[in-house]
Every structure is written in structure tokens, then in C-alpha cells.
């Protein structure tokens, strides 16, 4: 996507997101809010997996850590504005630690390391009931009140979540456009070459995990006041796989991929509800078709069309043989 097209697309998405809940009932607004916070979680995984090429099946566990820290602190009377950054910091540092195995193992092995971490977090949340409430979870967390703006109502909370999502997206945009973003992509494409050009691949790998995990924590910090009831089952491995599906369906390594992917995974089943008992069947079939025909995700279709219909200067050179000019 060109330099000017991307901000225009971002502005159009923000306008659409502002208009989307108007005139809708509480349930639809709740679904739209879920789309926003899963987009945040998927944005984080997109950095780790899509930009930096490090597989992770633990994003839901970071949502859990963020959600539980926010829940415990807000239940203890702390404001969300204090609880949220603490959740983010905790996830950042735990993500940093999770990144260490990535310095030694890659691919399937790394996937299993992160999968084990997700299971570990799930078991801790379920068994340490003195802190987490065990299988019964935690309930009654307040929604943030900012004095002039209270998020108690569903529509207000939606706009609050939208504001947080926009800020998170702008920060992510800054990261992926910066030299860090270039180093993340270099790590994905050719780590040995990146290292030979001065990129500290160890540090950049750890940062990819830490920042991606912090986004998971932010999503978790939004889940807590949204649902006001959290339990370990909401953050199991299946949810990490769902977030992975969002990144892959939307387009891994594309900035807007997570938003599109989260829309497909969260919103599409709701649109298909009119088919009653068949909606999951149709949804699964659609996902299979999408992945078969768009392996680079839905955003990747645009890039493929561009490559197909717009002749490249380099291709012209290839036709003439390998000459400089």
C-alpha cells in the first residue's frame, strides 16, 4: 500500500468504526468492541509473527495476564489508568522472557514452547484460586470512569475501546515504519544477513516478543472492564489459535491485516447466524477457501493483484537479460 493510501485507509476505517455502532443494540456493540480488542491482540501477534517471523501460540495467555492483573488491581480500588500500564509492563517483561527460547529454537519447536507457556498460564490461573478465583474466575470489575466520560454504558465503552485501539494502532504504525520495523522484517527474511549488517538479532527477537506480548496485555486490560467477569477458559490455547487465525486470514506482516482478520473471525460468524445451525459449518468452509486462495491473507490479495497487473521495472529488465541498464 502506498505512502499516502495507508493514512487515507486508516482515516476511513476510523470513520467507519465511529459510525458502526450507531443505532445498534447492546449485543452488536459488544461484538464490535470484541472486534476492537481482538484486533489489538492480533496486532501484537502480527508484530511477533508477521513482521519478525517468530511463531507464537501464546497470545491468549498474555491477554490473560493483562486481564487478571487489571482485574485484581481494579477490584482492589486502583483506577484502570494505573492498572493498564502495569499490565502492559508485566506482559512486556514476561514476553521478553518467553523470547529467550526463540534465541535457541525456531519453527515448530518454538511453536511448542509457546504452546506449553499458554498451557502453563492456563493451569496457574485455574489452580491458584487464592489469587485468581480458580475456575470460578473473578467478577465485578468496574468500568473506568474518567469524570467527564464514564464508560459504564456499552456504547460509551465501545468509543473508549476505539480510542485505545487507535492509539495502539498509531504506536504500532510508528514502530513498523521505524528502523526497528525494518530490523524486524530483516529478522524474518534473513536473520544471518541481518546480523552481518549490524542488527543485534538477539535483542530484536526479544523485543518482538516483548512488544507483541504487551499488545496482548493491553487487549486483556480491555477485556476485564468489557465483560466484568473473567475465568481461565476464556484464555485457553484455542483462543491463541483464534488470534493466530486472525493474523493469517487478515494477512501476516500487513499493517491492516489484524483488523481484517479479527473482523472475519469475530464478525463473520455473527453475520452468518441467520443460517442457524449451519453457521459454523459455512464459516469453517469460508476460512478454508480463503486460506487456499489467499495464502498471504485477505490484505495480501491486493499485493498479488498489483504484482499481476502492474509490470515491474525489474521484470522488464529480466526480459532483456541481466543487465544493469
Amino acid at each position: 500500500m502506498s505512502f499516502w493510501l495507508r493514512p487515507l485507509f486508516l482515516a476511513a476505517m476510523i470513520v467507519l468504526a465511529c459510525l458502526a455502532p450507531l443505532g445498534q443494540g447492546n449485543y452488536i456493540i459488544y461484538i464490535l468492541t470484541s472486534w476492537l480488542l481482538f484486533s489489538v491482540a492480533a496486532m501484537g501477534l502480527n508484530l511477533t509473527l508477521g513482521y519478525a517471523g517468530q511463531i507464537s501460540l501464546a497470545q491468549a495467555s498474555f491477554m490473560a495476564i493483562g486481564a487478571y492483573i487489571t482485574a485484581l488491581l481494579t477490584l482492589a480500588g486502583w483506577h484502570w489508568l494505573i492498572a493498564m500500564p502495569l499490565s502492559l509492563l508485566a506482559c512486556f517483561f514476561i514476553g521478553l522472557l518467553l523470547g529467550y527460547p526463540a534465541l535457541r529454537v525456531q519453527g515448530h519447536f518454538l511453536a511448542f514452547v509457546t504452546l506449553a507457556f499458554n498451557t502453563l498460564v492456563f493451569l496457574v490461573l485455574r489452580n491458584e484460586d487464592w489469587l485468581t478465583g480458580g475456575s470460578y474466575g473473578l467478577v465485578g470489575m468496574p468500568r473506568p470512569d474518567f469524570g467527564i466520560f464514564n464508560t459504564a454504558k456499552q456504547l460509551q465503552f465501545y468509543y473508549f475501546a476505539l480510542a485505545v485501539t487507535v492509539v495502539a494502532a498509531l504506536v504500532m504504525w510508528g514502530i513498523v515504519r521505524s528502523p526497528w520495523g525494518r530490523a524486524f522484517r530483516a529478522l524474518r527474511e534473513n536473520p544471518m544477513r541481518a546480523e552481518s549488517l549490524g542488527v543485534d538479532t538477539r535483542r530484536i527477537t526479544l523485543l518482538a516478543f516483548a512488544i507483541g506480548s504487551a499488545y496482548g496485555g493491553l487487549a486483556g486490560a480491555l477485556v476485564t472492564p468489557l465483560v466484568q467477569f473473567i475465568e481461565p477458559g476464556s484464555f485457553g490455547l484455542v483462543h491463541s489459535l483464534r488470534i493466530l487465525l486472525m493474523v493469517v486470514v487478515g494477512g501476516a506482516g500487513f499493517f491492516f491485516g489484524p483488523f481484517v482478520g479479527a473482523a472475519v473471525v469475530i464478525l463473520l460468524p455473527e453475520f452468518l447466524r441467520f443460517t442457524e445451525g449451519y453457521y459454523l459449518l459455512i464459516y469453517s468452509a469460508l476460512v478454508i477457501v480463503m486460506l487456499a486462495f489467499a495464502p498471504n491473507g485477505l490484505i495480501g490479495i491486493g499485493a498479488r493483484l498489483r504484482a499481476r497487473f502492474l509490470p515491474l521495472q525489474a521484470r522488464g529488465d529480466l526480459a532483456q537479460g541481466s543487465r544493469l541498464k
Binding site: 510508528g174 514502530i175 515504519r177 521505524s178 528502523p179 526497528w180 525494518r182 530490523a183 522484517r185 530483516a186 527474511e189 534473513n190 544471518m192 544477513r193 541481518a194 546480523e195 552481518s196 549488517l197 549490524g198 542488527v199 543485534d200 538479532t201 535483542r203 506482516g253 515491474l312 521495472q313 525489474a314 521484470r315 529488465d317 529480466l318 537479460g321 541481466s322 543487465r323 544493469l324 541498464k325
Partner: protein, 248 residues
């Protein structure tokens, strides 16, 4: 007399019972282009990897600008002023030519934090464009590196090694797979860069014509040992080199 840019003293490296490199010593002076040739399995790549920190020598040591570098990570070595190319194509295919070149220089500018908060191009677009023009890739600056022809990617690969202004560049078979027209361009560009910037090169190459015309001095390795050393014309006439490598 100025200190050598690269100094290799008594380096030996074995793999199991096989001695890949045996007691190799030589120096590379500032501005020198040294060709390293020899048959397959002669120890050229092992020696390269000992210099680049990917292998730790069993014996001997390697100094760059007077500093010991054995076991040093490639990124640290790069910051000491060592650039390299790989035998296989080693560009970032999904990134544009411009981004490939900027990446090659960005880690030498500012701190980690300033690279996050500063300009997206780390202030390197101008310098990168000059280098792209120098290697005559300017008409391709916005193209993805992966869409370039093999020869163009090879040229980009070489250009990336020069972005950080290195004192020493190790080129691993830069001519491999490059057609004759582009080969002449590549040699001319490397010689011009060497002349204008005073960088030293060590070149591993099997293309004899290319390496003989590019280098100011040649070292010949066979079975892990130096069997000859001298100016290109001396090497061409050396009977032991002809017997071991060049043939009649």
C-alpha cells in the same frame, strides 16, 4: 607503516580428524584487494568463517584494526568496520532496494531508542540513494529486492556491504552466477569504491579472470595450507598453483 586492517596469525581449524585450515598467517593492508583462491575443500570458507566469528579457531588469532575478533558476533564485527557478502544471494526479498540499503546502514546511526523515535529512514535516504546510484540500481530503488534479476540482486548484495563505510569487506564468490556484462560492471564498481574510499577487500572467487583482474595480491590455499602468495601474474605462472588448482 600503517597497521594492517586484517591480521591472521597461525590460524588452524579442525573438524573431527580433518584439519580444514593449517597454521595460516597473512595480513591485509589498508586499501589492498586480496584474492583468496584454491580448489573446493581447500579451507577458504573455513578461514572466512574464522575471520567472521562464525567459527572459533583451534589455534591462532584474528585481529581487525588491531582488535582480536575470534568468537565475536557478526553484528559486533560489523560495527568494528567489517562488511561481508555471502556465497548465496543474501538480500531481503520482500523489502525494496532502498530499504535493503538503509537497513545496511541504520544500525550504525544513533542509539536503539533514537532509531525507534527518530526518522523512519534514520536520516539515511540521501546516502542510500548515492550508493544505489553508484551501483547503478537507481531505476530500481522502489522495487522489491526479490523481483530483481539474479545479477541485480548480486549487485545489491555487494552494495549493502558498503553502506556502513567499512574498512574491510569480505566478498564470498561475488561473481558466482553473474553474466559477463554485469561481471565487468561489478569489478569496475568494486575497484572504483576501493580507490575512492580506501577500503580493503578479501575476495574468495573461482572465476580466475575476475579475481586476477580485481586483486592486487593473491593467496592460494590447498588442503588448508598456503601454497603460494604473490601478485596475480606471479600466481598465474606458479607451477605448484597450476598443478594444484589452475591446470594447464
Amino acid at each position: 607503516m600503517t597497521a594492517p586492517v586484517l591480521s591472521i596469525r597461525g590460524v588452524s581449524k579442525s573438524f573431527g580428524g580433518i584439519r580444514a585450515v593449517r597454521d595460516v598467517s597473512f595480513e591485509v593492508a589498508k586499501g589492498e584487494i586480496l584474492g583468496l583462491i584454491g580448489p573446493n575443500g581447500s579451507g577458504k570458507s573455513t578461514l572466512f568463517n574464522c575471520v567472521l566469528g562464525q567459527l572459533r579457531p583451534d589455534e591462532g588469532d584474528v585481529h581487525v584494526n588491531g582488535k582480536p575478533v575470534s568468537g565475536m558476533r557478526a553484528s559486533e564485527l560489523n560495527k568494528l568496520g567489517v562488511g561481508r557478502t555471502f556465497q548465496q544471494l543474501s538480500v531481503f526479498p520482500q523489502m525494496t532496494v532502498l530499504d535493503n540499503i538503509i537497513l545496511a546502514g541504520q544500525e550504525h546511526h544513533g542509539t536503539m531508542l533514537s532509531r525507534l523515535l527518530g526518522k523512519p529512514d534514520a536520516g539515511l535516504t540521501g546516502q542510500a540513494e548515492e550508493l544505489i546510484a553508484f551501483f547503478r540500481l537507481d531505476h530500481l530503488r522502489e522495487e522489491k529486492a526479490g523481483s530483481l534479476s539474479y545479477g541485480q540482486q548480486k549487485l545489491l548484495d555487494a552494495a549493502m556491504a558498503f553502506m556502513a563505510g567499512p574498512d574491510l569487506v569480505l566478498l564470498d564468490e561475488p561473481a558466482g552466477g553473474v553474466n559477463l556484462t554485469m561481471l565487468a560492471d561489478l569489478r569496475e564498481r568494486l575497484q572504483t569504491y576501493n580507490r575512492e574510499h580506501g577500503a580493503s577487500f578479501v575476495v574468495i572467487e573461482h572465476n580466475m579472470e575476475f579475481v586476477m583482474e580485481l586483486s592486487t595480491r593473491i593467496i592460494v590455499l590447498a588442503e588448508g595450507e598456503i601454497i603460494a602468495e604473490g601478485a596475480p601474474e606471479e600466481i598465474r605462472a606458479n607451477q605448484s598453483v597450476i598443478d594444484a588448482y589452475l591446470g594447464s
